[in-house]
């Protein structure tokens, strides 16, 4: 039986999404969800009821309806606000998806899209969002408030867009869901990963596939996150220390997730309209099928990165490509190092650049420079598990 706390945390986005369907106002929906939680705290016994999420949703929507009826201004709008008959108020599986499309509406700036999605759909707190967006808490709080005001004032609708608008709206949603996954893959404040957040992002990717089963990019995003999730538990050792891909126990990778991820990645890559997530999923797939780090098909991974770079030029991708190239047997490490250094101006402040640089320098036997590069990476890295790893590598070199 899950703890009451867990029920609240898991239910929150579902309750807000189902309530906003009624209120069309995010603040009001959040208020009502909060009040429902408070009522639950007063009335639930020590263990939550069978369907805690349903209970909270029904309660929050009842509170919303009461408030809407009480409020004289809203009363006049009520006929417009109330859902068409047949809405039984149960949380619909697609509610979170409507909320994502609202949060990632093109009328909102990308940073606002990300902040709103993380806060409202994924339940991430403002401090953690600030860290993801590399900005202050007050700025994030302000951004979220402004964005909610705009949604209400400009009437950004709570719905999944109609078919003819979907393609234009899809990329922002995929990007935001992927960012949410990334924020859970390596958290800012530790531990290494937040499985609840990666799980939520995976659910959203699955909902997008359900919405657009014939589109390649949602398939690809789902493939990418499944293939990454498959490795999740092996990314740290029993002491909570970081274990990188070369040392991970591949026998513990989740075979079911890999099977599904590979099938979806294959479908996506074969599609004529494949995009950047298809190539990223393909890379993840090549790692997933490799029996070991040494037996990985590095040449194929480099080729896949080339395809990704062609469709989506990005210095982060170029860095990953360089790192993969350094693993191809007989690689010219000096050339790889020059490639990495050439990316430095575009990736200032990106911790994985000095970390990749340090790795290549160490393999070249340039120990002092490698230790210095790990030092730079340490300054830029916030996750404590990654920090411990970098410090350990640095100490090994100096010793």
């Amino acid at each position: 039986m899950p703890a009451v706390e867990d029920v609240f945390r898991g239910a929150w986005p579902v309750v807000v999404a189902a309530t906003v369907r009624l209120t069309r106002d995010l603040d009001l929906a959040e208020d009502c969800a909060q009040e429902a939680v408070e009522r639950a705290l007063r009335t639930w016994p020590a263990t939550p009821p069978e369907n805690g999420t349903g209970w909270l949703t029904t309660t929050a929507r009842r509170i919303a309806l009461d408030r809407l009826r009480r409020d004289t201004v809203l009363q006049r709008k009520l006929p417009l606000l109330v859902e068409p008959a047949g809405d039984d108020g149960d949380p619909a599986p697609t509610d979170p998806l409507r909320l994502v499309f609202t949060c990632a509406h093109p009328a909102l700036a990308r940073a606002s899209q990300v902040a709103l999605t993380l806060r409202l759909v994924c339940g991430v707190d403002v401090a953690a969002i600030a860290a993801v967006l590399l900005t202050g808490e007050a700025a994030v709080a302000r951004r979220i408030t402004r964005a909610k005001q705009k949604i209400a004032a400009a009437r950004i609708p709570f719905r999944v867009p109609p078919d003819d608008e979907l393609p234009a709206r899809l990329d922002a949603v995929l990007t935001v869901v992927h960012l949410a996954y990334t924020a859970g893959h390596v958290t800012v404040r530790g531990p290494l990963r937040d499985a609840r957040l990666t799980g939520r992002a995976t659910e959203l990717a699955r909902l997008l596939v359900g919405l657009l089963p014939d589109e390649p990019e949602p398939q690809a995003l789902l493939a990418l996150v499944l293939l990454t999730e498959a490795r999740g538990p092996t990314r740290t050792d029993p002491d909570g220390d970081l274990v990188l891909l070369p040392a991970q126990d591949r026998s513990r990778w989740d075979r079911a997730l890999i099977r599904e991820g590979l099938a979806r990645a294959t479908t996506a890559v074969r599609h004529p309209r494949r995009g950047r997530f298809a190539w990223q999923a393909a890379v993840a797939g090549l790692h997933a099928v490799a029996p070991s780090w040494a037996e990985t098909d590095w040449a194929q991974i480099v080729t896949t990165y080339d395809a990704l770079l062609a469709s989506w030029p990005s210095p982060v991708v170029a860095l990953n490509r360089a790192a993969a190239r350094s693993q191809v047997p007989g690689a010219d490490l000096e050339a790889v190092l020059r490639e990495i250094d050439a990316l430095a101006p575009d990736l200032a402040g990106y911790p994985y650049l000095p970390a990749a640089r340090a790795d290549v320098l160490a393999r070249l036997g340039r120990t002092d420079e490698a230790a210095a590069a790990y030092g730079v990476a340490l300054v830029l890295t916030t996750n404590p598990v990654e920090r411990r790893y970098l410090a350990r590598r640095q100490a090994e070199l100096v010793a």
Binding site: T72, V73, R76, K77, L80, H105, A107, A153, A154, R155, I156, P157, P161, E165
Partner: protein, 118 residues
Amino acid sequence: MARYVFLMYDSEDWYDTADEQGVADEFRLHEEFMAAVAAAGAEVVGGEALERSSAATTVRGGGSEPLVTDGPFADTKEALGGFYVIEAPDLDVALRLARACPAGNVEVRPVMEMPDTA
């Protein structure tokens, strides 16, 4: 339904270069736009075309005495040339209509809803 003001910003060359035919074409475009609004289940509830920005006078407040200056509030390459007030079900419909609006740039601004006029 919600009301939006469409603020149309454009280069002002048109005022100099448009001949009779140019003006007639412009009117036709706006008639087509108004037809598109109606077809989308929205409504044009107001709007005007404006004289060029050099015909504007700005009264600047803030100081002890308002300052009267020749010209628009903000001197920009693309100037406010006209506006519509459109009633539409939501922002998605409004943005679709803004794309069909015959102007170089359209700022879509929601009208503040007053409790007494709702």
